[in-house]
Point group: C2
Chain length 136, copies 2
């Protein structure tokens, strides 16, 4: 059970790198060198982040990417949802095999709570907070 897949992982690392290098526009090539991740894969990821409004891209000679929002406004949950889809923990598992068909489902309610808890815990983990770990 992986919570975080490679694209989310790379996205986080790229965002941290950009965040640390000030507001300056960073080209993909620099990120690829710095993070040592596969070039076309990261490029795809950056394009997605651009479309989703997490990064802003600049084409042409001295182009690249910058954060479209403040680092503290980019949470891990946002990225997980972009690359791994909504948390659908509470989605009906049992296709009405368990729940009474009349009312709400106790199981579903339980799972909704789990979902909320996860989001609640992940929300404060932002690019900002991760960037300030000042690791190597």
């Amino acid at each position: 059970m992986k919570l975080i897949t490679k694209n989310t992982d790379y996205a986080v690392r790229a965002l941290i790198y950009i965040s640390r290098s000030g507001k300056r526009i960073v080209p993909a090539s620099e990120l690829i060198d710095a993070l040592v991740v596969p070039r076309p894969f990261l490029r795809k990821i950056l394009q997605i982040l651009n479309k989703k409004g997490v990064l802003k891209s600049y084409k042409g000679k001295s182009g690249g990417f910058e954060l479209a929002r403040a680092a503290e406004e980019i949470s891990l949950v946002d990225l997980i949802e972009i690359f791994q889809g909504q948390f659908t923990l509470a989605e009906c598992l049992f296709r009405r095999k368990i729940c009474p068909n009349t009312g709400t489902c106790a199981l579903r309610n339980s799972l909704s709570v789990v979902e909320e808890k996860v989001v609640e815990q992940l929300k404060p983990i932002t690019v900002k907070s991760l960037a300030s770990f000042n690791g190597r």
Copy 2:
């Protein structure tokens, strides 16, 4: 992001069925008819549950499966862990790219908390509690 996969799903449903039918031994064929799930797939699942000590199997003519533990002692987390492996949410994502290599990792700590919360929420969801939903 699926929390629960098919084998966990089918396992839960099989266990609920057995639980509801008293302490009686239930053969796989009955479960297959009742739950309308693919025969060889469910058989494999039942074998795993037997090996993991969730079910106890009886070979031969009027054999089948019974719960090896009380229904309230079989939690959804147990089944998820059997079929989908340990919750490794807190596994190192970034291969020391973020954390200081000296001490403990703030990110990892955050993710550990998430993990605990999930387990804490899922633990009280047991075969017993699910079986008593008395759905159809």
